[in-house]
Symmetry: D3
Subunit: 169 residues, 6 copies
């Protein structure tokens, strides 16, 4: 996950000077995907009365929440740099609360707790966007090879492609 | 990662009838993020002449390519269903080639091999979009809590939010 | 798991020309052992009325089925080569169904589902045997060191030793 | 990996009375497969002069030897019981030396060290066979489903099938 | 790792009222042990001129530093509570720097960087001691069973036993 | 975890001559911490009547007991050397029983079984102390950097610092 600023893709961003030491490809979606799993598992747990199924939900949720914590940790200690803390003084606190909320999600079947976790991850996502976001830490995604005759459903615009298009502006 | 169709978010999609048995939150970005790491690691490997650094690149790339394979496998055997294979007769072949390409990326420092892996994952991504995509397998991401005064940089539109907005329902 | 054809052990097999690029030691028994665990766990789950024990069964089965999937994936994308797909046109389909069946085994306490998984793995095993099998992807196992006075129970002939013996024929 | 003696498959073996408490599906082939990988990796390492390839060998061998140790440990503390130690007074010593030899294999590119590891695992295998072996800790493997027209290559007899056949005798 | 205050062992400590929700057994020694490995690996790396050995050092250090980060994370988001941040306003900053230092240790063969990591972990250790330490988050360790005739070497007093002895004072 | 004897810290101990080949940083506390978790989880399990909580206890205990086994294995096959077996003829047996007891702890909610595990680990700990202990396999821990004005609670003496102080050399 070693990485450097994709200088040619984001030439306007001086803030990424930190990347003269290796930094990585980062995306809070890694944490969000796992947290969404937790949310959906709780939803299904509450909708079911099958004991075997509910036990599986409890167990799998534990694993997914642990992965959520891991990906929050990666954002916190690998992605964020001192200048980001200056910009967002509550950065440590938000990441800390998000981690603790993921622990809470392990312990509960309350859907509101899962929503709180998503909200906290979205605050991390917000700080990531404001400090570079996909332009700085992801590669742009072009049209899939061999998909020329099969365009993406046009109502779904890809954020990475959008970011790439927007760059020269 | 148990999940069901978010029926209320994607009411127009009859194709997801399979989801009356547990299905998950899926996103080929999980595979792509790891594959982008491989790409950037190869780039940095080739830019460096530091032996310690290059050895670390080789080792970390091995791990990242293995994770790429895992996430491709998840798409292949957990997300895709028989009706998807009917729609995309080369589905098995594309996933197979993507997995084999991830193995190839472990073995090489050739950036073109990493690009081939990204292209193959984008073909999986294309099939995912055409069979439901974010609308069906991800939750919508709203404005971050407490971020009302700090709007997202407007040139970067979020694909999930866009998808949600676009829903005619 | 890098490996090359054991040329001296299987000189008659031109099909393994693919092995001029690294290939591995492979054996579908890795998948079968984990799937047998799933089978036996379900059997014991159904024989027991102890709640603690049954919860442990559900949890451990989940892990074992996940390992089964991993080993099926390894056969699919690491062992099998294009010429094998030519020989067995349903190769992708069998591996796919085996993976999906392993997911099914996670969800159930029905012993018939575990048997279906074993049957599908045995079909993979069959394709492995027909494309080289133990001769090509395993080393021969000789008499254990220091075991000269303690011969193996003669009714149990070792498949690998047998394969090795049979080669020159 | 909870398991009980497959009483109906091995009715002649009173020694397995211990299995009225959960015991597992065991097979020293799990350790041997990983150790064979180590052997082949060392072989390929010595045959190559490509620095990138050799570094990968060193790294992957480390992982494979670690897995070997894990599977040796499982045999030692999960499979073997006090009556086995009575029968094989050097049981602890053989398992201990096998574990230490796997550590040694991590440290070396000497093929003789890898062979020593295989020999020690074969001694564990021997003790496993003499105390029940495949009959007691594996399920019998029948003809693959749908493979009636495609018999196994007859020179390769399967040890598990052989064991099953031999049982009623 | 769910845990509650061992109330009967540390009755004087009101600060642990947070433990009416599950908390764990914690010990910064888990992080320190892994960080000491990193230190010693760097030392041996620098003392050696054997290329195979040095490559293994680089690889194993990467794993050990990753485990160090994991155990630092556990202290940060699982052990520490809001009242601890009040008491130690630099708590977030120290944990953050320790995590980043563990990343740095992955990248270097400079023993001074490994020492910096140990120093930062010792600062976490200090905050842990000042907020309960072994009395609150570990169990007391008595004389080993059957070791009555073999007293511990008296120059080495056990911190946990010492803590337990000291309590009633 | 490669390591050498810290010769300068333990000059009196000729027994560690084996360490001219790599040996590690070892501490039975790694096993004990996980075993203490098992103990506390069983305690909380028995104190609770909440079904969700109890299921989580069962699942998390399984993981913690598995980690306990891993750390016992590390002591057994990585730390202990032939001269240690000469000194403690029951070394193999104690480690074996400890591993089996960790398996037993997975299966039960009986706190006495968890105590037995702790006792067996303490016997391993005793053998470790008598064959070098912290002096030989851990680094000394000094006062935390920047903690000069915040002395450790004086009733808690650190075993590692104590060991270092006690060295007559």
């Amino acid at each position: 996950m070693l990485d450097r600023l994709m200088a040619q893709l984001a030439p306007r961003r001086a803030v990424h000077a930190h990347c003269d030491i290796p930094c990585g490809v980062y995306d809070p979606q890694q944490a969000r995907i796992e947290a969404e799993s937790c949310y959906k598992i709780i939803q299904k747990y509450n909708d079911s009365s099958d004991e075997l199924f509910r036990q599986r939900c409890t167990h799998v949720k534990e694993e997914r929440a642990e992965l959520t914590k891991h990906h929050i940790d990666v954002m916190w200690h690998d992605y964020f740099k001192p200048e980001h803390v200056e910009k967002f003084p509550d950065l440590h606190d938000v990441c800390w609360k998000a981690s603790k909320q993921a622990s809470q999600v392990k312990r509960t079947a309350d859907i509101a707790e899962a929503q709180k976790l998503l909200d906290l991850i979205d605050r991390i996502d917000h700080m990531w966007r404001e400090t570079g976001g996909a332009e700085a830490t992801r590669m742009q995604q072009l049209e899939p090879v061999g998909a020329s005759g099969a365009p993406k459903s046009d109502s779904i615009s890809d954020s990475k492609a959008a970011a790439a298009d927007a760059k020269p502006a």
